[in-house]
């Protein structure tokens, strides 16, 4: 079992007229990327604000490194909110320095680290510019630097890639992975499912203020496998169907001279059995297991939750 850095136990948060979080418990392992997913208004931001101690939960407890969350932990957490901005009239360098000091960094240390980051991102020329002179993507870069500057153990990124072009998205993605390599833990909230698949080790899905799914990305994906395979073959579909023996043919298709079929096996039937049955009728070129995407899992789970 990996060591945990953050844990919430049965957190409930209620606003005047709606329940934002209902008994939510999560555990975030050290040095992992934890995906916090859910539809708009599900309660993700409320949970993130509780971790940042912007709000307190009505009931339940949150632990940081095993201790109940307290103000001293704030400088060990970095937060990049979804709704974010900077003082427009303030100069970039001055502002970054100010925000870093608010996080408890000494001025000299902050200055030194800022210089390093500015050189790394090749943005030294921006230091004396006013924020309003920068494009949105440029501002996002500054905000990213400000979030990580005090080298927090726990980083929370809420939609970190919004406003970035593909090149900068790649740059930030690599920085996030590098932070993890260096020992930081990342809580990552996004609607961009491809980046979840790329980055996350663990995900939790929150819908309608409840946690409805939680686990390692790998485990969740394999548990959502539906025993479905994609098979490419030479021969016609009529011949294929002779060998199907009651297995369900979900989709028929054609690609570059090959016929493709998506076949769902009946429960308990192994791939070998299927292959044995169809090989006499058609010539199999390839066969891959259909692994569900996070996107499909997300939609499936949220729809299931609606039915409840």
């Amino acid at each position: 079992m990996a060591e945990e850095i953050f844990r919430s136990e049965n957190i409930t948060k209620r606003y005047a007229n709606h329940l934002a979080l209902d008994n939510v418990s999560i555990t975030v392992d050290k040095q992992s990327v934890f995906g916090l997913l859910g539809p708009n208004g599900a309660g993700k931001t409320s949970l993130i604000r509780i971790i940042n101690q912007i709000m307190a939960p009505d009931s339940g407890t949150a632990y940081f490194n095993g201790e109940p969350l307290c103000p001293e932990h704030i400088c060990r957490i970095g937060y990049l909110p979804e709704e974010r901005g900077l003082y427009k009239k303030m100069k970039v360098g001055e502002q970054a320095l100010y925000l870093a000091q608010l996080k408890g960094l000494k001025k000299s240390v902050a200055l030194e680290r800022l210089k390093e980051w500015f050189i790394k991102f090749e943005i030294e020329a921006w230091w004396d510019k006013k924020v309003e002179e920068l494009s949105k993507g440029m501002q996002q870069k500054i905000q990213f630097i400000i979030t990580v500057l005090h080298e927090p153990e726990l980083l929370i990124f809420d939609e970190p890639f919004s406003g970035f072009d593909p090149i900068n998205t790649e740059l930030i993605k690599n920085e996030i992975l590098a932070l993890k390599e260096n020992g930081a833990t990342i809580i990552f909230s996004t609607h961009n499912m491809e980046s979840v698949e790329e980055l996350c080790d663990h995900i939790a899905l929150i819908d309608n203020s409840k946690k409805i799914l939680d686990g390692k990305l790998k485990d969740i994906r394999s548990s959502h496998k539906s025993n479905t395979y994609n098979i490419g073959f030479r021969g016609d579909f009529a011949a294929l169907k002779k060998g199907l023996n009651g297995h369900e043919l979900i989709e028929e298709g054609q690609d570059e001279g090959l016929n493709k079929a998506k076949i769902k096996l009946a429960d308990g039937i192994r791939l070998n059995t299927l292959l044995q049955a169809i090989i006499p009728h058609v010539e199999v070129e390839f066969c891959t297991e259909q692994i569900p995407s996070i996107r499909d899992i997300f939609i499936e789970e949220v729809n299931k939750n609606k039915g409840r």
Binding site: I54, I74, I77, R84, L86, L99, L102
Partner: protein, 439 residues
């Protein structure tokens, strides 16, 4: 504490470094001093030239009016009828017709027909001149000796003298009250000016969405207080600059005005003896008032005055700026602030308007209550403090209430603020804000 001082520093420095602060700091005293000098100058320089046709039904009783013409008012004596004089008025460069009816000695009324309304100053000077002649004619008519007349004629002046255990003292409460009013006015202006700055600052942080980044490092309350204190320091800096510059400019301006004042005496040469006497008396009064005004500077207890000024300035500012901060946190843009601004600015404006009346009746019940109630006391109490002799228990009650009130509004605003700053894109109602208080 370290974080709050960082916030205060930022709020202070970004504002003081702004060009608009520099401009306002320099322009403010120039405007104030300029306006004061303009008022003085306008009172002195009477540029109006009147040329009047005199229609005298008691002909030629008022012929001597001609000799009373001055640089500004010329009397042209005629034997025209009123109607022809009026007709002439319209087609000539005369500015008016002075009609002295037959019964003027009894009725003591005359008429002035004019094309353009003369100033009340000119009207009064014409009135005085006619009055002087009517008086002389009546003296002759009733056979009264002029000497006797002046013995009988009585104008009584009431000199209020404050009597207390420490002895007698000439009462200058009115003059002092004006000084107090000026201090109250400064407090009023700065609460408005800087309270709105706090509000704008909060709105700026909210609309630029930096607020969530900041409150993940500091408590919303720290951010709010840091802003309020930072802006207060900006206000105090501005006051200090204004006071220094205004005194400087006034000192220069005063010497200029005094020099041009010497010309006044020449007018007196053309006056009748009784007029001259009156003018003399008036002059004597003026000089006395001037000396009194000098006295006022010594008679007001400045350390106490300035001490209370700072107390009420800060107390009133904290009270109101916390409310302004709460308003800023509840809205998305400055245009949405109106519905919340009114109840906050009303008591402030009310206090200012009432203090004008309180100068007249500084010991009345209105003065008492308004100087005790925290929302109005910072402005109204200054008038009373300047006059001195406010009972100690009233001062204490007023200050304790003010402190209690700003602690309360700061607490209240803190609760509204911490919820408000995280609410985007929502039109907020009073009911909503009421709910925020209990989250």
């Amino acid at each position: 504490m370290g974080k709050i001082s960082l916030i205060i520093q930022r709020e202070y420095l970004t504002r003081v470094k702004k060009k608009s602060f520099l401009v306002l700091s320099l322009l403010g005293p120039l405007l104030i001093a300029g306006m004061m000098m303009l008022v003085i100058w306008m009172g002195m320089a009477e540029n109006e030239n009147q040329k009047l046709i005199v229609v005298d039904d008691l002909n030629p009783a008022f012929a001597m009016l001609k000799s009373k013409s001055t640089r500004n008012v010329k009397f042209v004596y005629t034997d025209m009828s009123l109607d022809s004089a009026k007709a002439k008025l319209l087609e000539s460069d005369f500015t008016g017709v002075l009609y002295l009816p037959k019964n003027i000695l009894n009725a003591k009324a005359a008429q002035l027909f004019f094309k353009k309304h003369p100033s009340s100053f000119v009207l009064r000077s014409i009135e005085k001149k006619v009055e002087g002649i009517v008086e002389s004619l009546n003296l002759v008519q009733f056979g009264i000796d002029r000497e006797d007349f002046y013995k009988v004629k009585s104008t009584v002046t009431l000199h209020p003298v404050l009597f207390s255990k420490s002895g007698e003292e000439e009462d200058l409460s009115k003059e002092k009250a004006y000084v107090g009013f000026a201090f109250g006015l400064v407090i009023y202006m700065f609460i408005f000016l800087y309270g709105v700055q706090v509000m704008r600052g909060v709105i700026e942080e909210k609309t630029s969405r930096i607020v969530e980044i900041i409150i993940s490092s500091v408590k919303p309350f720290q951010l709010m207080m840091g802003k309020i204190v930072g802006v207060a320091l900006v206000g105090l800096t501005q006051i200090a600059i204004w006071v220094a510059l205004t005194f400087g400019i006034m000192a220069i301006g005063q010497s200029v005005i005094y020099e041009s004042n010497f010309g006044v005496d020449k007018v007196a040469e053309q006056m009748t003896p009784e007029m001259a006497k009156k003018v003399e008396a008036a002059n004597a009064f003026n000089t006395k008032a001037l000396i009194d005004e000098d006295n006022i500077i010594f008679m007001i207890n400045w350390p106490i005055m300035i001490g209370w000024f700072l107390f009420f300035f800060l107390g009133g500012y904290l009270l109101y700026s916390a409310l302004f901060a709460a308003i800023g946190s509840a809205v998305d843009s400055e245009t949405d602030t109106q519905q919340f601004m009114l109840p906050v600015t009303m008591p402030l404006v009310f206090a200012y308007v009432m203090s004008v009346f309180i100068i007249e009746n500084p010991e009345g019940p209105a003065a008492f209550w308004l100087s005790i109630v925290p929302l109005t006391s910072p402005i109204v109490m200054m008038v009373r403090v300047a006059m001195g002799n406010v009972p100690i228990w009233e001062m204490l009650l007023s200050s304790v209430l003010l402190i209690a009130a700003f602690v309360f509004t700061v607490w209240l605003s803190g609760r509204i603020y911490r919820t408000g700053i995280l609410m985007y894109g929502k039109k907020v109602s009073y009911r909503e804000i009421w709910k925020w208080l209990w989250y």
